[in-house]
Symmetry: C2
Subunit: 308 residues, 2 copies
């Protein structure tokens, strides 16, 4: 491995401390401590340039987003992060670019308390593969399989922002009037810097019957819950949580973006009827008989009229 | 994700069973059980087409080799495999190619008893990133840091075979006489299907002071032991274990290949003086004062005369 890579590797190695870390970067493998009576939860997410982020995205954003997307899977399993590895493939070791990448990594490591304990750095077409590890009391991790008829369907945060942000980034929003800078910034940051909903982990363990994170779009992702649980779902389109920023862009089909836009990394969860929801979790529908995902409410009014 | 990918994903999902697997492929993450009083050992290895394997390598070989290389890090840490994830990036979902890949994966899953519990399948330039997880009694994982002056340096198996195999595969061996088919096959298989030395895991926990797997070449890799342990190493070149196949190719510089050829995925370990070695482990040198790696013996005779 070239010496420039060695330098970077040592740089990345500084993000490796944490309460579960017995041994971090620098040996053949890392060693992590799992709490007694806990299970290891693991998930891998790959991001390829041009597919998962636009070409020329800032390295800082690429790194943050790759980690956030992977951590979101831990949130959806109700697991606490304990460590991650990064398989990084880069065409060349440009120092400024790598500095940006390490800034984004450092930021994500801090925000999600997930130390970087190992990795592999290779030359090739730009690609990041993040494997996140978390822990959860044995038997308490959240699955897609537990939704029951009568349960309430909820989501965290607001939906559609990241998809709108990506349209603004790529210049495909076709807005006749440019939105104000705060609106643009909010939506773009929702794409670049998703907030995996780790803050609900412990509440979800005690209260949720199923969960999934929203990476491909609400309807696409809750279809996995419906299929895995063998239930139907009805989404009340009028109750979808929209951010003021997204709502302000009346040219954009906000309802459609909220239903089908990906990359929000919010959580869709089901809870037993009558469960008192914490702040930040919004009721958007019901678990029904059947295996279909349907929408109710003023779909036209929500700006969404022709899915499926 | 296109439906062809879904199909493949379900296919790969069938390699996911094992004693430590609570939940395999198909949810937001996998759940693994770690034995009481054990630590999780984790390592990530990436293979990029054209860098880590020749373009047009059979998919079956690519998959097997990627897993074997990653598992080799578990062997070097003296950890028992419990599961792995695969981040697979492929340019297109060619069914025959994917079938070959799944054959190689199935073979590796079986050979190393390491279930595939998760993964991510994306489109892009061919790249495989394997994250392996293993477990080891707390505090007993093997490091590069434990070699002490007076210890004996040993290696498993034979060295240089994979490098010779790669020369034969790539047609760069410059042999004037073509070796017999068994010799060619043996050496090529040593490149395509490495044997991570898991069989020594338990013995190493009780007996070794340090270990590393040989992926970049003996001298390069044991230099990591020397640096991490703050010791010197002297390799007795005449004692390097060579396979009959490699020895038979007198045109090839077998000594040089054994010292510097990569991809063997054997283990280099240090043990206390006087330790009785099990079959398959060969004494090749000593741990000394200093921090340098040196060679002794008839280096010319071993065909090696100009490293560094």
């Amino acid at each position: 491995m070239p010496s420039e890579f060695d330098l970077i590797y040592r740089y990345l190695a500084s993000f490796g401390g944490g309460p579960s870390v017995v041994l971090g970067v620098g040996d053949d493998g890392a060693a992590l401590r799992i709490s007694p009576a806990h299970e290891l939860i693991v998930s891998t997410d790959t991001m390829v340039e041009g597919r998962h982020f636009p070409i020329n995205t800032l390295a800082e954003h690429i790194a943050y987003r790759a980690v956030a997307a992977a951590v979101s899977d831990l949130a959806a399993m109700a697991a606490d992060p304990i460590g991650m590895t990064l398989a990084l493939t880069v065409p060349h070791a440009d120092e400024l670019w790598m500095h940006g990448l390490s800034m984004g990594l450092a930021s994500a490591v801090g925000d999600f308390s997930i130390p970087l304990v190992g990795g592999d750095l290779t030359r090739g077409p730009l690609c990041l593969s993040v494997t996140v590890m978390g822990e959860c009391p044995a038997g308490q991790s959240l699955r897609r399989t537990g939704a029951r008829v009568g349960d309430v369907l909820c989501v965290t945060g607001t939906l559609g922002d990241a998809a709108a942000g990506l349209m603004l980034i790529e210049g495909t929003s076709q807005l006749s009037v440019l939105p104000d800078i705060d609106t643009v910034d909010f939506l773009e940051q929702r794409f670049y810097r998703p907030s995996p909903r780790l803050e609900f982990c412990h509440w979800l363990r005690d209260n949720a019957t199923s969960a999934i994170d929203i990476s491909d779009g609400l309807l696409a992702d809750i279809t996995h819950i419906a299929q895995a649980s063998g239930v139907g779902l009805v989404v009340d389109v009028e109750s979808l949580p929209l951010s003021p920023a997204l709502s302000s862009l009346s040219m954009l089909n906000s309802g459609k973006l909220a239903l089908t836009g990906g990359d929000d990394y919010e959580l869709a969860v089901t809870v037993a009827p009558g469960t008192i929801l914490p702040e930040g979790l919004r009721r958007i529908g019901l678990v029904t008989e059947g295996e279909q995902v349907k929408c109710s409410g003023d779909i036209e009014g929500a700006g969404y009229d022709h899915f499926k």
